[in-house]
Symmetry: C2
Subunit: 218 residues, 2 copies
């Protein structure tokens, strides 16, 4: 029996909605069909209790009984231990899922996040730094294209690795960064076509929309 | 009984020596006092066998019997399962070690690696993209400073999380990025003062120096 609570911000601006990282956790929980509740912390000034759960003052974190876990990668590995729908049960499949979890977060998101932020903030000015990150991302995408042209999911069956990798690539796709990488784009489309993604996404959008209504009512 | 082989490049240029990621794996293996051998692949053109082990054409990877694992984070988690010297044995301690492994690679290295590369390539020209990454790193270091001012190691006792976090911060320190973060700097000094780090570092340097000698003999 699990007792899971996901904590996210009470409100965020329009732009990041649909991309706040609690979505990765919601998606995994929906895939596993694990019951959970959602709690909120202020997007405004963050207090000591927030930092005690998330030392960078970010979200999400997950509590499982008296265990509190931050970092979406760590949370998804934890959930992977709870459900065969999130992680293969054979040793080789488990190992593959774990290495692709790290590949998503340390090899692909490392250039993808700054690349996206440069686009978003309009810092995408062709400077050497922008070009470095652009080349770095393209190199990673080139290899991911080869990988994804040859398989439906990263570790045999759908797993936490696919939640993370497709979520990382989804943001690149939003800024049209996958136009020359059809296998990556198809993979994002395939992953986000799952009803569990739709549910997680709708729930995040509704969570922040509800906060808008409360703000208007104040 | 384990049968561990670490694969790294046969040679790299001077600059990255001492920082190639096989060092993280060597360090963990030395901490755990696990026997291992080191194999090499060409730094030059990478063949299909290389990509079969490491889909991005990088190093390191570790084989444990017939299991082959890439991504330094995944390798260190695997080794953490093999030795209490690398991961606490109580559930809370294990969970903490894992979340800090992800924090090192996804929260701190994400800005630290591009920041370092901008310094290294001289792209550090004050452009908006450089400033974005600089501010991103400073924000992470500010929070790490608070964390590290209050504890010796991240998860109670020394663990794989400390190998990764100190290795990530060590590169920032090399480019004088920790001058305003004494707790981070002291943490790097404390971690790298371990004889196991010295052994891993010396072994990596010797490995590449031996390749120089072979090249000269050709």
């Amino acid at each position: 029996m699990t007792n899971l609570t996901l904590t996210t911000f009470d409100w965020v601006p329009e732009m990041p909605r649909g991309f706040v990282r609690d979505l990765r956790v919601r998606w995994a929980l929906e895939e596993a069909a694990l019951p959970y509740r959602v709690a909120s912390v202020p997007f405004g000034p963050r207090d000591a209790a927030h930092f005690a759960h998330q030392p960078f003052g970010q979200v999400p974190w997950l509590t499982d009984g008296d265990l509190s876990i931050f970092e979406s990668g760590a949370i998804l590995l934890h959930l992977g231990e709870l459900s065969a729908r999130l992680m293969p049960t054979d040793p080789r499949g488990r190992s593959e899922a774990k290495e692709w979890v790290f590949a998503a977060l340390n090899s692909v998101e490392m250039p993808a996040l700054p690349w996206t932020m440069f686009k978003f903030t309009g810092s995408d000015d062709g400077s050497p730094a922008v070009k470095f990150v652009d080349d770095f991302l393209k190199l990673r995408l080139k290899h991911m294209e080869t990988v994804l042209a040859g398989r439906e999911w990263l570790a045999g069956s759908f797993s936490v690795a696919d939640i993370l990798m497709s979520d990382v690539l989804r943001v690149v796709d939003k800024f049209d960064g996958l136009s020359e990488h059809p296998a990556c784009r198809n993979y994002v489309a395939r992953a986000t076509a799952r009803p569990t993604f739709a549910k997680a996404h709708a729930d995040q959008m509704a969570h922040f929309a509800a906060a808008d209504q409360l703000r208007r009512a104040d």
